[in-house]
């Protein structure tokens, strides 16, 4: 444990900037999770694995000589169809069932994807080099890879685009109606089955965008999926369902927390810190809620 963070203010600035840019990416993944949670009442453990799969699509484009930034366009399109496929095969059978069934089923999908990716792409840590260079700030004390700025901008563009799409388009209206009351929506002529499939597809497409950006800015590895699931779950429960500014804020907060945990505790405890934070947040939430229950008594 070292306290460099407190001795050198520039490291603090660096960690904050890194964390904020990383957090925007987390928020994008969490947005997808909030969408499917709100609409279908499903918690998708395979969320992180969809992200990694999206990353590999961009990485393969990079391997074949296409600039990985195009992955931001290609990966969500492919991931949309993969998402719809997963929905048709598995998810539509667990939508109305007990939540634990869906958690376990998606856990199975997660293990499946993890291993398939391990076979298909190998167990190496890879990244797609975008060649964007870095920006130096504050007398070269803070380095900021341009790819991170690029990924943050793209995430914001996609998030805003999706919000507008949900507000304006017919499908978006159907999705929102189904989220509010699926039975009423069905009575009023919304094909909820189609809406569910589209929701899961959109979620997978968002994961694809985030994955492509992660493969450009950070690294990807077949087994790195679960932490992304946990992060997005954490962001959603902190922000609450359907609270988009909250998702963005808590995503960035989580990013900053992670960077500081990285500096203070050391990189080997980074993932552990994320998971412990999840437990702490849930415990805090439980005590807060139990106090509320006592008032009611």
């Amino acid at each position: 444990m070292d306290f460099m963070v407190f001795q050198y203010p520039m490291i603090t600035v660096q960690a904050c900037l890194d964390g904020l840019l990383l957090g925007i990416l987390f928020a994008l993944i969490a947005y997808g999770m909030a969408l499917q949670w709100g609409v279908m009442n499903i918690i998708n453990i395979a969320q992180g694995d969809l992200v990694i799969l999206g990353g590999y699509i961009a990485y393969f484009m990079y391997l074949y000589g296409i600039h990985p930034a195009w992955g931001v366009i290609v990966s969500p399109i492919i991931m949309y169809f993969i998402g719809v496929g997963i929905y048709k095969l598995v998810i539509n059978k667990v939508v109305d069932r007990d939540l634990f069934i869906s958690i376990l089923a998606t856990f199975g999908i997660s293990i499946l994807f993890m291993q398939l990716m391990n076979f298909a792409f190998g167990a190496d840590v890879v990244l797609a080099n975008s060649g964007y260079g870095t920006t130096m700030l504050f007398d070269n004390n803070v380095t900021l890879p341009n790819s991170k700025i690029f990924s943050a901008v793209i995430s914001i563009v996609f998030a805003i685009g999706l919000v507008i799409y949900m507000k304006k388009s017919k499908l978006g209206r159907a999705i929102r109606a189904t989220a509010q009351n699926s039975r009423a929506a069905k009575i009023l002529g919304v094909d909820t089955e189609k809406v569910y499939a589209a929701t899961f597809g959109i979620n997978a497409a968002l994961c694809g965008v985030a994955g492509a950006l992660i493969s450009i800015t950070f690294t990807i590895h077949p087994y790195m999926g679960l932490p992304y699931t946990i992060r997005s779950f954490m962001i959603v429960i902190v922000a609450g369902l359907g609270n988009l500014p909250g998702v963005a804020m808590s995503g960035m907060g989580l990013g900053v927390f992670e960077e500081f945990a990285d500096y203070i505790l050391g990189t080997e405890f980074r993932i552990g810190a994320v998971f412990l934070l999840l437990v702490l947040i849930l415990v805090y939430r439980r005590f807060k809620l139990s106090r509320k229950r006592e008032y009611l008594k």
Binding site: I45, V94, F100, I111, E268, F269, F275, L276, L282, R286
Partner: protein, 349 residues
């Protein structure tokens, strides 16, 4: 009643002579015992109490590390042992080994119980999926954190003390077999005794409707914690035995192996039938036979097969073997069916 006694004594006799009849399968049988213990204890939460946990792996891994650490630390400096990476610089004498194992197993069972009590107070108030994800997080966090602690071997792993050279070639296998078989008997008897008391009814009440149970004057929190502590006790014990059996502890691949053991215990209990005494035992046996018999044919595709298996079992077979039997032969389970009622139901379908 006499039928039950016959069944139990047959199983007991089979268990006692098995290592001599099938000497080649000793390790498999020991692992089977451990798996049954894990599935049975998971069933206390997942089946009877309705709290689906992915976190019992925490106690299993904790027990594993504690047993090995105590066994080494009682006689030798622990840090140097792990640093040497299992080189034979320190050798346990037989007496030291067995003493260390005995004390280690007690510690491995007791400490997770206390930990379960403390954690349980904090997180058993969570409901449904929040609880499931919280325990999932706990298991992974434990694996990541123990992988960063130097004194128990960090990333390079921890070699447990090798079995001393006493009693010939077969001694190691027989010792661990009888240890795990003993743990299995202990667990089964304890769980069976628990299930025949009011405690099981309380757990079922919590599963069916927790708020109502609370309104009926049951201190649900107390019973939930006790249930978790019982699970943790036997999970820790099983972990301690498994650590010695495997001979090598790694933080994420052996001890806190959420991807393998942590899922297995859930899967076995669901396969056998949640909320029954025999379900997890049958589920674990079937699963283990399937795994050992067919795993080698998948040639590296094991995890793919596991993922497919989870999805298939969860979606198409959530009631498990016992649930299926119950539907098929309800009279064997002491359920009286009104013939008229049944016919009416069939007509409705």
């Amino acid at each position: 009643m006499s039928k039950n006694i016959l069944l139990y004594s047959a199983i007991l006799i089979f268990g006692l002579i098995a290592p001599f009849v099938f000497p080649a399968f000793k390790v498999q049988l020991s692992i089977l015992c451990v798996l049954i213990v894990l599935a049975t204890t998971w069933n206390i939460q997942g089946g009877e109490m309705g709290y689906n946990t992915f976190g019992n792996i925490l106690f299993y891994g904790l027990g594993m590390y504690l047993c090995a650490s105590v066994q080494v630390g009682m006689f030798f400096p622990l840090a140097e042992w792990t640093e040497s990476g299992g080189e034979k610089t320190f050798v346990h004498t037989p007496a030291q080994f067995f003493q260390g194992m005995a004390v280690g197993l007690v510690v491995a069972a007791v400490v997770p119980t206390i930990v379960a009590g403390l954690i349980g107070y904090a997180i058993l108030g969570l409901r449904g999926h929040y609880f499931a994800i919280c325990t999932l997080g706990l298991g992974v966090a434990a694996g990541e954190i123990s992988g960063g602690i130097e004194i128990i071997g960090a990333g390079q792993g921890f070699t447990t003390p090798p079995f001393p050279e006493v009693g010939g070639l077969e001694a190691r296998g027989e010792f661990f077999y009888f240890l795990s078989f003993g743990a299995l008997i202990l667990t089964f008897v304890a769980v069976r005794a628990i299930y025949s008391t009011r405690f099981r009814l309380i757990l079922n009440a919590i599963r069916d409707n927790e708020d109502k149970a609370e309104a009926m004057g049951i201190e649900t929190m107390k019973y939930k914690i006790i249930g978790w502590m019982v699970s943790a006790f036997f999970c820790g014990l099983a972990g301690g035995i498994m650590g010695g059996l495997v001979g090598y502890i790694d933080s994420t691949d052996v001890a806190f192996d959420g991807r393998e053991m942590g899922v297995f215990m859930v899967l076995m209990a669901i396969l056998g039938g949640k909320g029954t005494l025999w379900g997890p035992v049958i589920g674990a046996t079937v699963f283990h036979i399937f795994k050992e018999g067919f795993w080698t044919f998948f040639l590296g595709w094991q995890y793919v097969a596991l993922g497919v298996l989870i999805v298939v079992i969860v979606i198409y077979f959530p009631e498990g073997i016992m649930g299926w039997l119950r539907e098929k032969y309800p009279e064997k389970f002491g359920e009286v069916i009104d013939e008229k009622d049944r016919k009416a139901q069939v007509e409705l379908k």
